[in-house]
């Protein structure tokens, strides 16, 4: 949902996008935003997975 949020915020670009028939926002802000989310997701997954895992499972996963 990265690109949708950026399109929502970039009101001045709406007319140009519509006129050009673009289906891709393709601005530089999309990638760092996506990378930030993916990093946060990995951290959150690691926290939950380690929390739910038994100590021997944690050792076996190394």
């Amino acid at each position: 949902m990265s690109e949708l949020h950026l399109v929502m915020q970039d009101q001045p670009a709406w007319r140009a996008m519509y006129a050009a028939g673009d289906r891709f926002y393709a601005q530089a802000g999309v990638l760092p935003r996506l990378l930030l989310w993916l990093g946060a997701m990995a951290s959150l997954f690691a926290t939950l997975a380690a929390w739910w895992a038994a100590p021997e499972d944690r050792a076996a996963s190394r």
Partner: protein, 136 residues
Amino acid sequence: MWPFTGTAPAAWLVLYLVTFALHVVFISYVLAGTGYALVQALRRKDDPIADRARDLLPFMLASGSRGRRAAAVLQLLYQRQFYTANLLLGPRWGAVVPALIVGFYALYLAKATTVIRWRRLALAIALVCFTFVAWS
């Protein structure tokens, strides 16, 4: 005091934050868990955490679809922006739902199959689908 002023927009904002926070927890597990299970399948490593993640992924995705509720509240809060962005992105935005369905079934296949090649393929397809949704 903001955002607990009792007015309708503030109530929607609180509801949005709660539903979005829930969505982030579940969907983070799905996207990162799919990537982790795929890496461990590629390494042919016997990993109990990856096994558990693979078992939980379809359930987590189903729970993570609470994002629909967050999106429903979002369209109430920012109607003009939300609908305009949806229309501008058009078919690509519409492709999110089929991508989620394909990813959902791929997770079930990865959970059910004992053939490592099928498991890798299913996890790779699911990862592509969920990354597409995150990007869109």
